[in-house]
Amino acid sequence: MSRLAREMKVLRLSWIEAKMHFRGPRMIALIALLLLFICGGSWGLSDPSATVTSELQFETPYEILFLVSLFVLFSATLGVVLLGFDGISRKRLTGELAIELSQPIDRFDLARSQLQGLWLAVFIPTTVACAIGTLLIKAHIDALPSLYDWIYFMIPTGLIIFWYACIQLLASSIAKDLGSSVTLGVGIWMLFTIIWLLFTAILATFMGVDITDFESAQFNHFSDIVDLLSPNGVYQLLLEGNLDADARPQLSQIYIWASAILWSIIPGMLFLRRFKRLRP
């Protein structure tokens, strides 16, 4: 089979996998989450009469999108957890995995189709929600982000969904039952989304960094470095790279993009490696 035919097969399988997710009942929960968080966030944050906090200054559509990214973090990544936490473990429990693994297809291709299918199932509705959110911003402030800004926003968004898809499928392939699957999936999401600041503060204490003032330059710099170890942190740092110079992170863009590349490779490779050795 030629390389092109093989890639086409993986793409077809990915699309079938994504369609299965689209038709599942969990997609309704995901769409509700995306609409509430991303569209609602875009509408609320772009309201000229709204005051969020005195420290947050936003005037341009991109800056509003940057703030909306916080809602993307909560909704889209949770969506990946919702759809993907049992991606492998459910099939293992029902026996479907044995059938799939006994088919004459390279396991690497099969794993990629699972990964891409999950990614597509979350990325497509997230893109639609972001597009609606952008139109809501235009309705409020009568300005659209440039195409460059919009694509700049969507690339890290696609990346973070991909990173979480890798992490979730890896967790699901490790879990032997649905309980462990949920625990691992939600646990990892909570670590990066909710308790990462606590982790950063504890680490800062051990490293002798002053944590009495979270706004201090020293803590911010330390926090940026620690954020390179978190997909959410890297996502935020990537998006900050397109803000005004004074709002950009203190870290070099090379480190941030290098971290993004590593986040794109390591969890994915770990999942593919695990899938290759998977037993039903």
């Binding site: 035919a5 399988l13 079938i16 026996g95 044995a98 088919q103 037993r279 039903p280």
Partner: protein, 349 residues
């Protein structure tokens, strides 16, 4: 059937599961599995793989299907080593039907098969497969709405994808009602008549005797006997017994029917005055059966039942291992694999 080179041949195949090692988490320990399994299956034959729970039936089927990489030994398809022809190519020869796949979700059988067809990169029609397993009218039924019997049929349709030469069926009759079981057996025989080699696993010897051509008995990961049913019975020395029941006659002492025959008195059923089970080494010829009947009738007995009963799986295992029939199936630990006596057909010849 049975002649020529075997379609599938296993030589000293060994595979052991890896278990977590809590003392040294970086190092896994070996658990149970299959040990030194030799097996040959010919085109058009149905082999019954029998063994109690945890004996290694599923592990053996998964190893043949390429889900487990054997640690030792060779697996050959039509004489060609699996490593030589490549795993994916080898998997084209095989259709695996795992035990009790619990299909669920909003997808339909047609979609499930279409996805697997895409996976295999073949242009096979899912409609044909669903027709073969009698599910044409249910091809668009959501999986969640299907009965266990329908789910089993769908699993079989998955196994038939790509017209495999070898079918591996893991407990295929589980969850099927007697009518569906009969239809399933008929379907398997039809497939075998088309030249497909079939391996069916079960822990129920009596359901197997209805349609298999040969048997292989697994116990604690080792193959303890293989051959036709009568060969296996002969090898293990547990030939079929004779059950006789009737009225008006009191069973005599154990040696009334001759020195080679042992007698066991069983509980009589309603409308019977007595029921006996006669055991004889070497099996029962029709003359010997006739002699037994004659002696009972001459003593004034009226016979209402004469039935040959196959030995049970536990009797066979007990005969093979020297353990008691009551305890042979117990104490199957996750790493229990003991050297057992090995019986080959040639030993008896």
């Amino acid at each position: 059937m049975g002649g020529g080179a075997p379609l599938l041949s296993l030589s000293a195949v060994t595979y052991r599961h890896r278990l977590p090692n809590w003392r040294r988490p970086w190092k896994k320990r070996f658990g149970a599995g299959i040990h030194d399994v030799n097996l040959q299956v010919h085109s058009g034959s149905i082999l019954g793989l029998i063994g109690p729970n945890g004996s290694g039936k599923t592990t053996l089927l998964h190893t043949i299907a390429g889900l487990n990489a054997q640690h030792r030994g060779d697996i050959r398809f039509s004489g060609q080593d699996r490593e030589m022809i490549g795993w994916a190519n080898a998997q084209r020869h095989i259709g695996l039907m795992p035990e009790r796949v619990n299909w669920s979700g909003t997808s339909t059988p047609h979609e499930v098969l279409s996805r697997l067809v895409t996976m295999r990169g073949e242009g096979e029609s899912p409609e044909n497969l669903l027709k073969i397993v009698g599910m044409s009218s249910r091809m668009d039924t959501p999986l969640d709405n299907m009965s266990q019997g329908m789910r089993q049929r769908l699993t079989l349709a998955c196994a038939l994808l790509g017209r495999p030469d070898i079918l591996l069926l893991d407990e295929p009759l589980n969850g099927l009602d007697p009518v569906a079981q009969a239809a399933f057996r008929h379907l398997l025989r039809e497939l075998a008549n088309r030249g497909v080699a079939i391996i069916v696993s079960s822990h129920n010897l009596h359901e197997m005797e209805l349609f298999v051509d040969s048997l292989a008995i697994l116990h604690r990961g080792q193959m303890i006997a293989s051959g036709t049913i009568s060969e296996v019975e002969k090898i293990l020395g547990c030939e079929p017994s004779l059950i006789v029941a009737g009225k008006g006659w009191c069973p005599p002492s154990a040696n009334s029917f001759g020195r080679n025959i042992s007698l066991e008195i069983s509980d009589a059923w309603p409308d019977e005055d007595w029921r006996i089970i006669l055991h004889k080494r070497g099996g029962w010829s029709s003359d010997e059966r006739h002699a037994v009947l004659q002696s009972i009738e001459e003593a004034g007995g009226e016979i209402s039942l004469l039935q040959t009963a196959l030995p049970t799986l536990e009797e066979m295992l007990a005969a093979a291992t020297g353990e008691s029939a009551d305890t042979v199936g117990l104490e199957v630990g996750d790493d229990s694999m003991i050297p057992l006596r090995k019986w080959e057909a040639s030993e008896d010849e």
